[in-house]
Subunit: 371 residues, 4 copies
Amino acid sequence: MPDMTDPTAATIPTPKSPAPDVLRCAYMELVVTDLKRSRDFYVDVLDLVVTHEDEDAIYLRSMEEFIHHNLVLRQGEAAAVAAFSYRVRSPEELDKAEAFYTELGCPVRREKNGFVKGIGDSVRVQDPLGFPYEFFYDVEHVERLAWRYDLYSPGALVRLDHFNQVTPDVPKAVGYMEDLGFRVTEDIQDAAGTTYAAWMRRKPTVHDTAMTGGAGPRMHHVAFATHEKHNILAICDKLGALRLSDRIERGPGRHGVSNAFYLYLRDPDGHRIEIYTQDYYTGDPDNPVVTWDVHDNQRRDWWGNPVVPSWYTEASTVLDLDGQPVSTTERTDDSEMDVTIGADGFSYTRKDDEESLPEWKQGEYKLGHQL
Amino acid sequence: MPDMTDPTAATIPTPKSPAPDVLRCAYMELVVTDLKRSRDFYVDVLDLVVTHEDEDAIYLRSMEEFIHHNLVLRQGEAAAVAAFSYRVRSPEELDKAEAFYTELGCPVRREKNGFVKGIGDSVRVQDPLGFPYEFFYDVEHVERLAWRYDLYSPGALVRLDHFNQVTPDVPKAVGYMEDLGFRVTEDIQDAAGTTYAAWMRRKPTVHDTAMTGGAGPRMHHVAFATHEKHNILAICDKLGALRLSDRIERGPGRHGVSNAFYLYLRDPDGHRIEIYTQDYYTGDPDNPVVTWDVHDNQRRDWWGNPVVPSWYTEASTVLDLDGQPVSTTERTDDSEMDVTIGADGFSYTRKDDEESLPEWKQGEYKLGHQL
Amino acid sequence: MPDMTDPTAATIPTPKSPAPDVLRCAYMELVVTDLKRSRDFYVDVLDLVVTHEDEDAIYLRSMEEFIHHNLVLRQGEAAAVAAFSYRVRSPEELDKAEAFYTELGCPVRREKNGFVKGIGDSVRVQDPLGFPYEFFYDVEHVERLAWRYDLYSPGALVRLDHFNQVTPDVPKAVGYMEDLGFRVTEDIQDAAGTTYAAWMRRKPTVHDTAMTGGAGPRMHHVAFATHEKHNILAICDKLGALRLSDRIERGPGRHGVSNAFYLYLRDPDGHRIEIYTQDYYTGDPDNPVVTWDVHDNQRRDWWGNPVVPSWYTEASTVLDLDGQPVSTTERTDDSEMDVTIGADGFSYTRKDDEESLPEWKQGEYKLGHQL
Amino acid sequence: MPDMTDPTAATIPTPKSPAPDVLRCAYMELVVTDLKRSRDFYVDVLDLVVTHEDEDAIYLRSMEEFIHHNLVLRQGEAAAVAAFSYRVRSPEELDKAEAFYTELGCPVRREKNGFVKGIGDSVRVQDPLGFPYEFFYDVEHVERLAWRYDLYSPGALVRLDHFNQVTPDVPKAVGYMEDLGFRVTEDIQDAAGTTYAAWMRRKPTVHDTAMTGGAGPRMHHVAFATHEKHNILAICDKLGALRLSDRIERGPGRHGVSNAFYLYLRDPDGHRIEIYTQDYYTGDPDNPVVTWDVHDNQRRDWWGNPVVPSWYTEASTVLDLDGQPVSTTERTDDSEMDVTIGADGFSYTRKDDEESLPEWKQGEYKLGHQL
């Protein structure tokens, strides 16, 4: 049997075992280096709700969640991601997950009592791309705080929305995720057919996870949803008031891809958090896939505001099932940053109309036109 | 009598003639090089209301205005600003304006029938700083469209809020404006006492005009207000949909100074337009003046997002009373851009805590830390 | 075989035939008595997008829709509802729908070319409750206008969200809908076990349709979603500006049930339209069902504002497959209006605390306490 | 000298003494019967900021205020209003206030150290309408919390906006207020010339106070402003979550008069509080006065939602300078409630189009058409 987790394999075979029926992304387990400092950020700044906390870990959820948590912060020596966790439709789906990944030759572990508090029978795997994926159904129910407006803050986070993963070979990753039952909703390509990123969903939003091209496996970000755009602006305002504006990495802005309103923050360990609202329904099987030209300057920010280089280059280490950092493989396809804002790259606002830039825009102020 | 319009004079003497009682900034007259193209921008994109238009000019107003116009676009050969126009409290104030500026040795003209349509008896001067200022009381009333929600667009502009002027010597300009009856609400200084910019008001908002340090006289921007922040986001979204995102120069964001939410656009001639909402009441005589440290990275954007260089360096030519461009004088004080984002400049998020920047922020992505 | 459409049957047997896999509510076909007048309302006031129109019918969609339409307005002699139409997961599901309803003894028709434009192979049935239900998969794709912010109005409708049906026996209706694969998310009951209304979903929102207790079958309302709450307020403002405020029947307000923000309008024929935003994710199989006490004055309006009697009593006639009005059966269970705002009814803000009403609230001003 | 405070006098003579130059409404002093219970409401529910509190009184301010307080809650035996307090432009204006009201024959008291904490030299009078008016300039400055977004709640109150007073003879009251330097911005009249209410301003908003026709002197409400409409909705949501929805008396809605978005609450003593946002600039001397027809059903709610009777009939007792309740005089002009929703009253949505009400609106559900 081939070692399916070989990161240099050209494609990942489709298992004969059926894929587990995934409902949605459910929580991420983050390793943080100073639990108190992380608590300050996630609880006091972002106002996530503490379901449980002890000396080693804090379990957090969003206002509309009824399962035990959407985020686990665990004290550790080095910042990393211990699990991307998905909920499946029934307990029986765990057997499918076990068989699916076993057939793929991946490390697979099953823990009847769960790997973390609040979760029961669970399967953890190191998937063919190197990521620590978890699947579970059993979970402790907690109060859905949706109606508890006495507890809402101006920037209240109401749902976990999606993960975003960095991986060197996006088409390979997409093939595997489609085998796992995910559907592509949008992607970024160029005329030569290179795919730079792809968004994939189980629940009928734009994504439960996305694959971003780059050295991987690494975790690009985890995203929480707010109800409205002003909630995201309120988070920025609060960060300013707390003199923490340097936690804002990119945005706020409107995405081209997904059409959502967004903000990217960096937590005290540098883990990237997106705050996100208002993408669209994608649940029909023939939902039109939107393919964006990598040179379209509105693909990642509909308003044409530049993507900062750190957003392209930095991401979090992921751990294997023994808790060891997974080494990364470089991307060999073109880099999105290089082809758009690099010395030989270019981006356009209006296709075939590069010359039309007003004089005052031909200067150096926009990184999109600058680096 | 000294020639008070000498731009090299250290200060501008206070006239013995009383200043006219200015109510508010009322309209700006812009010279544009392609009236049709400007109409596309101001009417079709920004949804300003046409009060009158003919072959030479378009008169525009905001949704809550009841005077004839807040903006005049006039066809001309070179982009420029022909007038910063203020409304005064009564017809009699025009005599005061005439005397005030005559005493200052400024070019002064009076036109009983107004210099533009819709306005009656008016005084135009080239003020001591070189700017074409206008004062009027008589004006044609038009329908205040405040209740006409059938005409509102998602990004509806409801009021003219303020002007912003570039001038080399900010304290000198402030002294003159205080003589004219304006009060400072906020300013930007450094520890050495250099003033980089000042905001001044007649109506009880943060400003009717601001003085920004730089080669001048030039017009930095004219600002319109929306009701809410989402209206400003809607303008960005629309510009994206029209593939005009390159008209967005800076923002949207939250100002430190003024506490308002903002967006800067550039019109087809490069004139800068701000969209602005939610500053605060300043009408008490002892309203506290807020002084910002020029090195505070949240002074111009509360979220710490970088100010693009063009915003510092580019501005519109102003015309004298004969319609000729006014030559500019360089600033000799330090430049705000140089001291904050230049090679020898610096900005902080937390005073006395420059070292605390997270590792991922010490890179090159933020212009505020970069250039 | 029993005539399953007998409205007096106590329960509806579960067919042995599997239910079709329904994706979501997709469109409603309304019969209107003056197509021009209805166009004024749906296109000029509510800004729905015209996909197609001819002398007999207008096909409308919301901004984020990619299928041909979400609403068909058809000219007719009497106002009525011709179809509640659901999209299924694949063409094969239509055979299941045909078998499912045939087994139930319902009138069933199949039209390979669709009953309306833009839709292909379709099954229409008169369901056991008397409602004209349609199922289809094949549909013409049209441009998803999600990114066309140049076309958005302040009150833009972005999705069809749900239907709401009036039926005399809610538990009976729920049993049938569960057989059809729907899941209950919330309901209203009393201590005696009477169910007054139930909300049921296929897509993971609070509902694709709801069953409201009353003389039926009748159509209570069809609901469109906006992005944010201010969009709903903008619709109210526009109706005021057009002197059409009398189209507002109830709201705007916050629902208790669903936690959504809402507004109810009446179209020119009296068909009720809801505008709705921000309910919550319900896609997990163990999603907690929320049961509201019928006497809880915040169940239908979280702010305790009264439900107007017309909202309880008026609803639209539905048609059978021959286009004839379906006669209605009275509800025999208690009426929600009677038990809450009737002479013998009562509602509370705080359970067990009826006496605590402030003096100024014990008067007659609130219908909830009045009738 | 006539006793100018005789409530039956037809008009109030214009004093020869110049009126004090009033800046704005500044604070209200409320007597409450249970200070702890009032604190729960104003501090824990409405999130006003405590500047100072002791056993007898709580001093509260809004987020953008820099003077000591906008509201004083004072423990007392019966709910009442002890002062409507205005700030004047300079200390010298107090002498004018003293002379103005002395000439009017009103009770006048001056307190160099202020009648309440945080305020210096003050004049209190019982004005010709019977209201306890206060004027002051000296005041303790406190931190303007405008930038303290870490302290904002979803429904943050940012400014005191206006008072509203009930008085039997509105034209008489307006005449006196004009003598005091106020200007009418809007009013409600009928074809016969009866004036039902008038709005008057010093600062350039729609009002600093309004006169509402009814038995008086009584206090109708005191209004605080939010930044945006969603802030007002958030207050409603929070009241629902706290099971205090019965504090909502009317709204939220859009006013016709003022064009502002509004909500009326009742505090634990029944004092009425308005939450208000987004009226318009009125600072020009020729600002167009808007006169509304009393029969226009959109004048008080632009969406045509009914005004509850308690809103018309209930109001707070005011105190004289000895702290005794001021007896009220009945209105002899027509009552707005009677002429609009009473047995002989009527309201229209479209003038001259009463017949056009849709059938479903001709029932009894709307109080505006009902009583």
